[in-house]
């Protein structure tokens, strides 16, 4: 499998001088394939005594449970596992990915010109125009916040989801070697806290826009008197409250569910080569490696669609909810 990835790299290098939009996408796809083929390589050398010693054999249960634990840090010292603990790994990766997105798009925006762009500039423009069209179709208000919000949500959620395609043990292995980090989960959107942070922020924005457009009285009237008349006030309130609470709940849980399930399946696929080492390599092990590569490839390709779709859905639902906050009944 490493030879496959080296072969792909060489082919990509030879094609690198003809960068237009189509071949840019092709090279992007090749990088995905590279990452996926590196997957089997990383899980095979798992027990390799390099910088970390596996004292004993790890069972599959322990492997999975170990990989599902977050790296917790206490905000106030001495309060481990209380309310004031944060998941340092999710925080780090979400902020890192956000900086990646912001800086790369900022540099593209600085170099923007009237003439038709190519390369990275073309890609950025394609994304921005796509999202702008979607927002124009869906949002019927006049706020200038919505389109940049949609772009941020889409790109940030997509990049956070993309961390799921990196081989499962790769970054935790580097963390253990370099900084002695015991637990690391690299996918921020597989953390309920991150997804609910996003969806609760959207919820607050919905309330803010509702109150700004309709006024406090209009907002209260809409909560109390829709959909039945004013004589069924408590029932109206209950229905409206449930509807309003369901929005952030479903937004957060949808993203979390998809990404958690995807990560878990990658972990199960990584179990295939548990306990195999490069020193005690037997020909029977190559069967496991091939199985793992094929399954990993299939699931990673399907997961590509899922992460794109889920980021898009999050963005579309945000815009739709904010547009609904503008409407009068």
């Amino acid at each position: 499998m490493p030879f496959l990835s080296i072969g792909c790299l060489y082919w990509w290098y030879k094609k690198a001088d003809k960068m237009n939009k189509a071949s840019f996408l092709k090279t992007l796809f090749l990088t995905y394939i590279l990452l996926i083929s590196a997957n089997s390589f990383s899980a095979t050398s798992e027990n390799n005594p390099g910088c970390f010693e596996y004292g004993e054999e790890v069972s599959s249960n322990e492997y999975i449970s170990h990989h599902l634990v977050f790296n917790k840090g206490a905000v106030f010292p001495g309060e481990e596992n209380g309310f004031w603990t944060v998941h340092l790994d999710s925080l780090f990766y979400s902020v890192f990915v956000a900086f990646l997105f912001c800086f790369s798009f900022y540099f593209a925006a600085k170099k923007a010109t009237i003439s038709p762009p190519s390369g990275w500039l073309g890609f950025v423009e394609m994304v921005v125009v796509l999202i702008d069209d979607q927002v124009k179709d869906t949002y019927h208000g006049t706020s200038k916040l919505i389109a940049p919000l949609a772009l941020t949500i889409f790109c940030w959620v997509f990049l956070m989801n993309f961390m799921d395609l990196i081989p499962v043990d790769l970054l935790p292995y580097f963390g253990k070697c370099a900084a002695d980090i015991e637990y690391m989960r690299v996918v921020p959107s597989a953390d309920l806290n991150i997804t609910f942070g996003l969806s609760l922020t959207v919820f607050l924005l919905i309330i803010y826009f509702s109150i700004k457009i309709k006024g406090l009285r209009g907002f209260a009237k809409e909560l109390a008197f829709q959909p039945f008349g004013k004589w069924m006030l408590p029932f109206n309130l209950l229905l409206k409250l449930i509807e309003e609470i369901a929005k952030p709940l479903s937004l957060g849980l949808r993203l979390f569910g998809n990404l958690y399930a995807g990560e878990l399946i990658f972990l199960i696929i990584a179990l295939f080569t548990l306990g195999l080492t490069l020193e005690q390599f037997s020909p029977a092990d190559s069967g496991y490696m091939v199985m793992q590569f094929l399954l990993g490839l299939m699931w990673a390709l399907f997961h590509l669609v899922i992460i794109l779709l889920q980021a898009f859905i999050f963005m579309m639902l945000t815009v739709v909810y904010l547009s609904m906050a503008h409407e009068e009944h």
Partner: protein, 84 residues
């Protein structure tokens, strides 16, 4: 030994979660795809726009069984009913 019953019930529960979710989603996607094909056949120029809407609804439809799968896998691997 003392966890046998809970483990057995957890296995059944996880299977029902995943299975029923998959059943509902499959039927839903079938209906959705059928309507999309019908609509595209009646008005081929709308096919592109309909496809975008198809994926939006597909993403929405996907969410609930995915939540079910997440919960089921959580029960399988980190069963909270098995104490200590």
């Amino acid at each position: 030994m003392e966890n046998d019953f809970i483990l057995g019930m957890t296995a059944i529960a996880a299977s029902i979660l995943i299975g029923m979710g998959a059943l509902g989603t499959a039927i839903g996607f079938g209906l959705l795809g059928g309507r999309f094909l019908e609509g595209a056949a009646r008005q081929p120029e709308m096919a592109n726009m309909l496809q975008i809407k198809l994926f939006i609804v597909a993403g929405l439809l996907d969410a609930v069984p995915m939540i079910g799968v997440g919960i089921a896998l959580f029960f399988v691997f980190a069963n909270p009913f098995i104490g200590g």
